[in-house]
């Protein structure tokens, strides 16, 4: 049968500019560029191009441009090109379609329908250059009350505080496992986190020895596969996160194919080389909130109550009661991962169709915890599709304490969101274990860029606070009165807890 499958992109090369240096062949990990030495002719396999743009930016004469393929199926509003391509792929392979990065369907963004307030006349705004502006955030359980003891002239805190993470800015690097991304990417984020005074997550692939110097800025993860979970690993990190679910694939497990379990990955995950690393959908020791509580306390016992324990879930329909259960089960923070969250590999059907927007999830979890009078028992960390300081500010105004950024951090490291992470061939040295490709990311440069992103966003956050007339990020938390909705329906406004613009 004829394979009538038009390519997504076409590679255009300016023949006059091309000097036949062959660089594009070496740069493209997907095998698009080919040169027949005998016939002295170029061949471009357009159908393999993923528009990572690596070749275009490495070509010394800038001869290459990558364009969207003009060849498409006859337009149809329902049977879109993508729908037709998916059906043909599955007809050919009989398999589940795998993809990467976040949800690609054009769902509306609530962040883009929320606007922030600003001070005018009656309450003056604050200039962050003139006055101190506090972004410091503590993640973890807060005491019911604070008791102070005065002895002679010194003051002492009598209340025993639960362990908290101290963040200089309410932005952390999300959990992305070593295995799905390279050690260079991990190192970049670890260094940036330490430098800026925040944290990064290991993901479920363990902590590579090269990260040990940054361990006090690293949150370890305990996922259903329990890879690398080991007494020393738990004691080494700054906090522990139990991953129940993730926004890109709620309700399903995952697996790292055996061919990606290299010697180093095997050492870090503590599994045999070359075998599939399977994370079952649920933790098989957790079938209830009571079971979850047991694991939370088992981890606290194993680390002698020195580390906060977080629990991460995907934002799903009943997220509020689930999050309340998690906090009541003893978690020091609940991490909610919205349906736009990125991933290194997920079945397309799950990535695009499960879960709810993070904005709605933050608002309902925060409200429910307040209604039950236990908001101070644990922090809310939001993640999944946070793209800018404005998103951070809006997430916090909706009720989050802090956010995790994953995709945004990778973009800072050079990712172009080509969505091919699961192939392990990342052209920018991020989602790969290939020693040659990995050289493309210099961890020092990566650290500088990742730290810059945090600094830039932090600076903007201070400016936003200033415009709102606030001098600390705490005063913005759950301060939904400083948000207004634009073009949102009544039920949506009710869920978000914000008024319509003009009211």
């Amino acid at each position: 049968m004829v394979r009538n499958f038009p390519p997504d992109f076409v590679v255009r090369v300016d023949k006059e500019a091309c000097i036949n240096c062959m660089r594009c062949i070496r740069e493209c990990p997907f095998g698009v560029h080919e040169y027949d030495k005998e016939k002295k002719r170029w061949k471009r396999h357009h159908d393999k191009c993923v528009a990572c743009l690596r070749c275009a930016y490495m070509c010394p004469t800038q001869a290459i441009s990558i364009e969207r393929s003009p060849m498409e199926y006859s337009p149809h509003p329902v049977w879109t090109n993508r729908v037709r391509k998916d059906i043909k792929t599955q007809a050919e392979t009989g398999a589940v379609i795998l993809t990467a990065m976040g949800n690609e369907l054009p769902y509306m963004s609530y962040f883009d329908r929320l606007v922030l307030d600003a001070c005018q006349v009656t309450n003056p705004s604050i200039d962050p250059l003139r006055e101190p502006m506090e972004l410091r955030t503590y993640i973890g359980r807060k005491p019911e009350k604070v008791e102070i003891e005065e002895e002679d002239s010194s003051i002492r805190l009598r209340t025993k505080l639960a362990p908290n993470l101290k963040l200089e800015t309410p932005i952390m690097f999300a959990h992305m496992s070593y295995g799905s991304i390279s050690i260079e990417a991990h190192l970049s984020m670890a260094r940036a986190a330490k430098e800026v005074g925040t944290y990064m997550g290991t993901g479920e692939g363990g902590m590579h020895v090269e990260l040990y110097p940054y361990a006090d800025h690293i949150i370890t993860q305990v996922a259903s596969g329990r890879f690398a979970v080991h007494e020393e690993y738990l004691k080494r990190g700054a906090a522990i996160e139990i991953k129940i679910g993730q926004g890109a694939k709620p309700g399903i497990g995952g697996h790292l194919p055996g061919k990606k379990v290299t010697e180093e990955i095997s050492r870090t995950r503590m599994i045999p080389e070359g075998s599939d690393a399977i994370s079952p959908a649920p933790h098989h020791d957790i079938y209830s909130i009571e079971d979850l509580s047991r694991l939370i306390y088992a981890l606290k016992e194993a680390t002698r109550y020195k580390k906060p324990v977080f629990v991460k879930i995907a934002a799903v329909h009943n997220v509020a009661p689930i999050a309340v259960g998690i906090i009541r089960a003893g978690a020091d923070a609940v991490v909610i991962d919205g349906f736009r969250a990125g991933t290194g590999a997920a079945p397309q059907v799950h990535r695009d169709h499960h879960g709810i927007p993070i904005e709605a999830a933050i608002a309902s979890v925060d409200r429910r915890l307040r209604e039950e009078g236990i908001r101070h028992w644990g922090s809310i960390i939001a993640s999944g599709g946070i793209r800018s300081s404005a998103d951070v500010a809006k997430a916090i105004a909706l009720g989050a304490d802090a956010v995790y950024i994953g995709t945004a951090a990778l973009i800072a490291l050079g990712c172009t969101v080509c969505k091919k992470c699961y192939t392990g061939k990342c052209a920018w040295g991020i989602a790969t274990q290939d020693p040659e490709l990995r050289k493309r990311l210099d961890p020092e440069e990566g650290a500088r860029r990742a730290a810059n992103l945090l600094r830039a966003w932090s600076h903007e956050l201070k400016e936003i606070l200033g415009a709102l007339g606030l001098n600390s990020i705490e005063s913005l938390r759950s301060n939904r009165d400083r948000l207004r909705g634009v073009g949102l329906s009544e039920p949506e406004l009710r869920v978000l807890g914000v008024k319509p613009a003009g009211e």
Partner: protein, 266 residues
């Protein structure tokens, strides 16, 4: 040595520090164990244990010996790294959960998820065990965990097993369910092996599992593991080994290899 005196009654008997756990909250009991180990104590005897959870969790100590008299609560020795624990009584859910190294010897029965995700060490349970035992057991280099059960096991034994060895001897049977192991045996297994001292119907096996004939090295392993087990409980190893065993192994180490495709690579 000074022993911190709190609610728990602590005394010394020969080289053992004896803790009376009656009415003591698990948090205090476990902190006491940690402190004693930190002060160099290596032999502890816990009396009147009545379901206290998390005993010896995350304990790193390869020469520690902890005797438990009574019923050890959930997650005994979870994440533990090295200690030997002998329980004169039953253990509850999750004994040896994600354990890295050490030994747990149980003279009574065990409930669910015993040895869940364990990566190293040994667990010997003289009696029966419950559901989901040995789920996602794994191995890593020279660390090959071994779980031996004298009685029978419930459903989902060795599900998602990625490594290690489970031996179910079936020396005693339940009246209500006389089979050596329950349904969904070894579903999703992709590493390691399960040995059952009985015949096993193929239709009991879960997705991805198959039976295999025992090799010489299997016999060698069995005589070593069963030998150790029997010496813990004063059983005659020769008699126990003189029986047919069924070995359950994965069909593939990459069970999901063909499941995915890429719309680009088609």
């Amino acid at each position: 040595m000074e022993i911190p005196l709190r609610k728990a009654r602590v005394s010394r008997e020969d080289e053992f520090v004896v803790i009376d756990a009656k009415g003591v909250h698990y948090r205090e009991l476990n902190e006491l164990i940690n402190e004693l180990v930190e002060r160099g104590e290596r032999k502890l005897r816990l009396l009147n244990v009545n379901g206290q959870r998390y005993i010896a969790d995350g304990l790193r100590c390869s020469d520690c010996y902890i005797e438990i008299h009574g019923v050890a609560g959930d997650d005994l020795a979870a994440f533990a790294n090295g200690p030997t624990i002998v329980v004169y009584g039953d253990v509850q859910d999750g004994a040896g959960n994600t354990m890295n190294a050490g030994r747990i010897i149980v003279h009574g029965n065990g409930t669910d998820i015993i040895g869940h995700s364990m990566r190293g060490g040994e667990i010997f349970v003289r009696g029966h065990v419950g559901y989901r035992v040995g789920i996602h057991m794994k191995e890593y280099r020279e660390q090959v965990p071994v779980l031996v059960v004298g009685g029978t096991a419930g459903d989902f034994l060795g599900e998602y097993m990625a490594g290690g060895r489970i031996v179910i001897l079936g020396l005693e049977r339940l009246e209500t369910y006389p089979e050596i192991a329950g349904e969904w045996l070894a579903t999703g297994i992709h590493g390691g092996a399960i040995y059952l001292r009985d015949e096993v119907d193929e239709d009991k096996l879960g997705y991805g599992a198959k039976t295999e004939r025992l090799s010489h090295s299997d016999r060698r392993f069995l005589s070593e593991a069963v030998g150790k087990f029997c010496s813990c409980f004063s059983l005659n190893a020769e008699e126990v080994l003189n029986a047919e065993f069924t070995k359950v192994v994965p069909k593939s180490h990459r069970p999901f290899a063909e499941m995915y495709s890429d719309s680009k690579e088609g």
